[in-house]
Symmetry: C2
């Protein structure tokens, strides 16, 4: 049976933007596992009924169906021990990196880019997205991202732990990337695909790391349709 | 030859307060390695000349001398592979946890507790500490910690990644503590030994974790002389 990854996309199915789907897209490439990309949209809940889940990523791998990016990553290391490891036999410390990414990086990015997303969605998804996100933030999405250029220094300052963690090494995984890199990079791909906002200064250590990440796997991330340059 | 750990202390040699020394004190207990504690003070630079270093922790382990907490932790896993592992063969993701601890936890704690330290130091150390820290902060230490009670909610909010990382598990290491826990706990021991300030609310997930950490190794951390209750 085939290997299929359900991934969130915009009106254009090539515009893959969920940070959690990006974690798994990179993880599959890291392990050298080919897959068929199945475009999915927020309002396609029915398409995931087989997985008993309502969010992507969902991986169908032969007889196995796995939902949730963390579950998929640990599944991949367990199911393919001969392929390059994502977490080298110890997933625990990666949960901290994931917690930081969710609560600091994603939260910070959302306040900068969330209003850039609706124009990229099809009609049904746009209505769903705007309504659900406005309810979450308690204001319009334009209000959420208002004054974002002025808030960039504060966002960049919030990335200090990432900047420090990259000192003296090319990747969070060390000399080569591992799942720590894919966790954090997912956030930056989310932003890159939907927004033209310049998040990082070119002299930033994180900028250099993001460039190296964009070049991985034959430049697959860089080649993905994006609003950023 | 003996195993000796040089640790920063106050006037009272039992008042061990450096967060980096706490990382190693816990790491040695984790590995079941007994050691002789050698009290060290900021102005004892001469006592570390043998290590060609000017800061603690410094570990003397038979013929080996290792300085810097990160170097010591990786040394201990390499030198004692049969003892319980600190980082389970993959140190890379722990560097992110260390970077977060240095830049967020320690930086936040310093702004709350740094003025509590001088009264605990002997005369020579007090003069050194006040002068060097005032130069670092660009103001008096009393000014640095002014209004700290009002700033506690902001400090607690900055710990959100740690709070999320502890959801559904007892320790950052999973069911049992590992070096991720000792890295973060070092900051809390620093605060506990020097300051009576109530950093955490009793209902906080992090509070429960800190209680479990204080109970480790027969309650050794809890039994260390401290200003906190």
């Amino acid at each position: 049976m085939a290997r299929r990854l359900f991934e969130l996309c915009g009106r254009d199915p090539a515009r893959i933007f969920s940070p959690y789907c990006w974690r798994i897209r990179m993880a599959l490439a890291h392990k050298g596992l080919a897959f068929e990309a199945v475009p999915w949209r927020f309002t396609d809940k029915q398409a995931l009924a087989f997985a008993n889940h309502d969010k992507v990523p969902v991986l169908q791998d032969g007889e196995c169906t796995v939902a949730d990016s963390w579950e998929i990553a640990t599944y991949l290391d367990a199911a393919y021990p001969g392929a390059p490891s994502l977490m080298r036999g110890n997933a625990e410390p990666y949960l901290f990196i994931s917690a930081w990414t969710d609560t600091v990086l994603h939260a910070g990015l959302a306040r900068l880019i969330v209003s850039d997303i609706p124009p990229l969605l099809d009609e049904a998804d746009r209505a769903y997205f705007v309504q659900s996100r406005q309810a979450r933030f308690g204001r319009t999405l334009a209000e959420v991202t208002a004054g974002r250029e002025e808030r960039l220094p504060e966002f960049r300052a919030s990335l200090l732990p990432l900047r420090h963690a990259l000192r003296g090494r090319d990747f969070l995984g060390g000399a080569a990337p591992d799942y720590a890199d894919y966790i954090v990079f997912g956030g930056f791909m989310w932003a890159r695909v939907v927004s033209a906002l310049d998040l990082l200064e070119p002299t930033d250590t994180i900028h250099g790391w993001r460039e190296r990440m964009l070049d991985l796997f034959g430049g697959m991330p860089r080649a993905t349709p994006a609003m950023a340059g």
